[in-house]
Amino acid sequence: MTTRNDRNSQSSRKKAQSSEKSWIPAILIVVAIAYVSLVLYIPALNVFIQAFSKGVGPFFANLTRPEFLHAVQLTVMLAAIALPLNTVFGLCAAWALTRHRFPGRAFVLSLIDLPFSISPVVAGLTIVLLYGRQGWFGGWLQEHGLNIIFAFPGMVLATAFVSMPFVAREVIPVLEELGSDQEEAAKTLGANDWQIFWRVTLPNIRWGLLYGLILTNARAMGEFGAVSVVSGNISGKTQSLPLFVEDAYKQYETEAAYSAAVLLALLAVVTLVLKEILERRTRIKDVE
């Protein structure tokens, strides 16, 4: 009897202790979720509800407007050019920075992030100063009848600029961890540089590279500030999808703005899902 009593009192004491401790985590979890809801979830949910508030009919009607279709086309084209450009640049930069030691390497490594830390408006401004009518190359470009600012090429430059670092940033740590042993082994077995890249390096860095590509694509399609500075925002001409959202909102066409916003929000959701899948994959590989 006494032992059972003892055990009872012990277990109740334990329960009391754990319940005393367990409400602190509960409060912290509730506060964290409340904060994330206020800042992220409620605004995100609002995009979808506003877009479909008048039903599916008006939503699809907005999606077939010519300015909208042109904006979608432009956004896809911007990403289609910026993506391969930055992949090649990113791979070259990552290769040069991990496989070669040269003076100023640490400096260049920290400068790679520069497009992230400078304001997109400043990035756009530098491009205007370089290629604009009064810019360095402005005179030469005008003589040859080339328009960069307030035209598509300027938008490509701005997009490529702001999404430049992603690939290099994701590939550099993978290359660094990998070391160059496998590549050297391939070389001693008689492989040329091209073969080494395709057969040895690329398979090893594929997940990091894919991760970088997803981030590059999201940024290229979603960039607003830099593109807005260089494009002139001419509806149906130099208006990408994020610019269309802002312009429609300013013209009090809130529904049209939200129809386009849903598309971009879906892009964001797809990006996050792909990111999560890739992160799980690489995590599993780490455990192995």
């Binding site: 602190i24 985590p25 912290l28 979890i29 964290a32 979720i33 994330v36 206020l38 800042v39 992220l40 409620i42 605004p43 995100a44 609002n46 995009v47 506003q50 640049f89 920290s110 400068l111 992030d113 520069l114 992230f116 830390s117 400078i118 304001s119 997109p120 408006v121 400043v122 990035a123 401004l125 530098t126 205007v128 100063l129 604009g132 810019g135 490529a160 600029f161 430049m164 999201a218 979603g222 960039e223 607003f224 500030g225 807005s228 500075v229 994020p242 610019l243 802002e246 909102y249 703005a257 939200y258 916003a261 971009l264 929000a265 964001a268 959701v269 990006t271 996050l272 899902v273 990111k275």
Partner: protein
């Protein structure tokens, strides 16, 4: 691609001459935008320093439903185009929006005020602190906390003396990254702000307005000021990261 445009801007700025540069950079409108931009950004970054650490802690230490979903969704501000963020925040926090309508009876206006700019900055800088603090927390050994407990420290003492010090460099790095992002932000802030000078006009929007008026030297001077501040922040962040790495050994 990277150096040429920046060199072009510095050269253009240097043609202004120091007196003129100083006059434009410290005009009363410009000074007011610095005030709005930097003070609001630092307040947003500090807010996320506090709540970002809390979120990272909850995600690393506790188990609860939908944890993985919440963890993945923290990166939403990176993936969502800024104009969409500005659009939906302006609606939700406007006087007849979901959250704004609850605040309006209290006399708090968010959209089209400086408070709205702050909300947009909080949104876009949220992931930075969470993502810099999370990996450090994951690597922390619980034995040290248990040792502190067994030596008689209470929960608060354990937190302040044992858990916080190794996290501090990561938190500061996250705050600095968030601040740097908030200072340069244009897309979401231009939509949620009324862009009235001396009230809620931020520096990137001022640059944009100067360009629209074909005032290239005005835009360049303010752009140079922002760029220099970004460079200083980049150096600071590198320094903070190096400081955080000290704890690895």
């Amino acid at each position: 691609m990277l150096f040429l445009p920046i060199a072009a801007m510095f050269l253009k700025a240097s043609t202004e001459g120091p007196v003129n540069f100083w006059r434009i950079a410290t005009s009363s409108v410009a000074l007011a935008t610095y005030n709005v931009t930097f003070v609001t950004s630092i307040l947003a970054a500090l807010m996320n320093g506090l709540f970002g650490t809390l979120i990272a802690w909850v995600l690393v230490r506790y188990k609860f439903p939908f944890k993985r979903l919440i963890d993945a969704s923290i990166d939403l501000p990176f993936a969502l185009p800024t104009s969409v963020a500005g659009l939906t925040l302006a609606t939700v926090y406007s006087n007849n929006g979901w959250i704004g309508s609850l605040l309006a009876p209290l006399g708090i206006k968010v959209s089209f005020t400086r408070l709205g700019v702050w909300v947009a900055m909080v949104f876009i800088s949220l992931p930075f602190v969470v993502r810099t603090v999370q990996p450090v927390m994951q690597e922390m050994e619980r034995e040290i906390e248990e040792a502190a407990w067994s030596l008689g420290a209470n929960q608060w003492q354990t937190f302040v003396r044992v858990i916080l010090p190794p996290l501090f460099p990561a938190i500061l790095t996250g705050v600095a990254l968030g601040f740097s992002r908030a200072v340069g932000e244009y897309g979401s802030t231009v939509i949620i702000s009324s862009n009235t000078p001396f009230r809620d006009l931020i520096a990137p929007v001022l640059i944009f307005q100067r360009l629209e008026q074909y005032d290239y030297s005005g835009a360049t001077v303010i752009g140079t000021v922002l760029l220099l501040i970004s460079l200083v922040l980049l150096l600071l962040i590198n320094f903070l990261q190096a400081w955080g790495r000290r704890y690895d050994d």
